[in-house]
Symmetry: none
Subunit: 205 residues, 2 copies
Amino acid sequence: MISCLLVEDQTLVRLGLANLLNLSDVICVEGQAENGEEALNQLEQRDFDVMLLDMRMPVLDGLGVLRALQNSTKCAPPILIITTFEDCEVLVSAMALGAKGYVLKNIELEELIESIKQIVAGRKVLQPALTDYLLQKQISPQIELTEKERQVLTCLSLGMANKTIARNLHNSEGTIRNHVSHILAKLEVQDRTQAVLKAIELGLV
Amino acid sequence: MISCLLVEDQTLVRLGLANLLNLSDVICVEGQAENGEEALNQLEQRDFDVMLLDMRMPVLDGLGVLRALQNSTKCAPPILIITTFEDCEVLVSAMALGAKGYVLKNIELEELIESIKQIVAGRKVLQPALTDYLLQKQISPQIELTEKERQVLTCLSLGMANKTIARNLHNSEGTIRNHVSHILAKLEVQDRTQAVLKAIELGLV
DNA sequence: TTTTCGCTATGACATCTGTCACTGTTTTTG
DNA sequence: CAAAAACAGTGACAGATGTCATAGCGAAAA
């Protein structure tokens, strides 16, 4: 029987998932936490075979937990990240911080149980759908904006006009126009609206 | 016994929640769907007392389902939106489209069951935490766009120029300009970029 | 040191954008 | 039916937007 610490802020999701896992004959959710701090407390008090960790949480999020464990002397259980597609940007950081694998919340139950077994056995679990996505993002030519350009882009995605941006950043309107022009070129788009859309898509803002 | 259709894309969450609800002695999850289209299919085939509807889904999202039901002659069950704090911007649209209430996914189980009973009894359920947030955001009164305006707005949020939109929708550029002008007025913004941002924020696209 | 790069700035230019007024047709609604 | 919308269009206009060439300044890199 694999003892498991489940860390997830949404009550319904946590209870539901715990229930499902407990119905299996190999996994037993023996600890639950609804944020990172609680998780760390639970780890203080007893040992687990594995920790299922959500990324987005109040108080202390998934990355926070991983950081805390790295700086701690205590020997933590292997960690499987359970996250949504929307939050997958932080996965690279999570893996760098010592997580042993990641799966999407919309994974099938059977597959999740299999993943947990793999993690406990010391192997890594990288769900293909996510890996593909991350690789594709990395392959996509990285857009390098200067500090000023980033500022202007932020203003753009707040819907500001050139004149307004100029006032905000204490520049002439002409200067801002130049920056905008460079941003459009770097993002390979034709106008500010497309720039904002692309920036949102790429998570630049 | 209340028969319930549960619409939620994340498999684990859906199964877990169904399980929890079925453990109660008043609610029975008799249908499940992992996207809006499946939900509509299920509604075709049989009746339910209530539908629990997630907002963010692939294929056809929550708003899409509500729109489809509004344009349909069929008598749909009352709908309770179950969503996350992050997606709550679209709730105003959802309510305008006929949803009967909304709760957060991190609601307590007891409270959720109580909410479902209220909905089935014909009352509305507006979870205070969300209502407060929305009021604080001073969400403007429901924005009513015409069909054509919606089409143009969609084009706008794809980053199209007026000329491109005109070609796409088979209109003169002047006509498109007029439509854009009306959209800006209705959204109470100054230019197309702000319109796109607001449209995204309000879930109009 | 020389070069490169980021930032600032200006002026000119073509084009795009949004507003307004006004004219119609068609469809919906009271 | 009559009024009200939605839809399509035109022409004119002011202002916003984006491009380009050019140039000075300071800091960092070669």
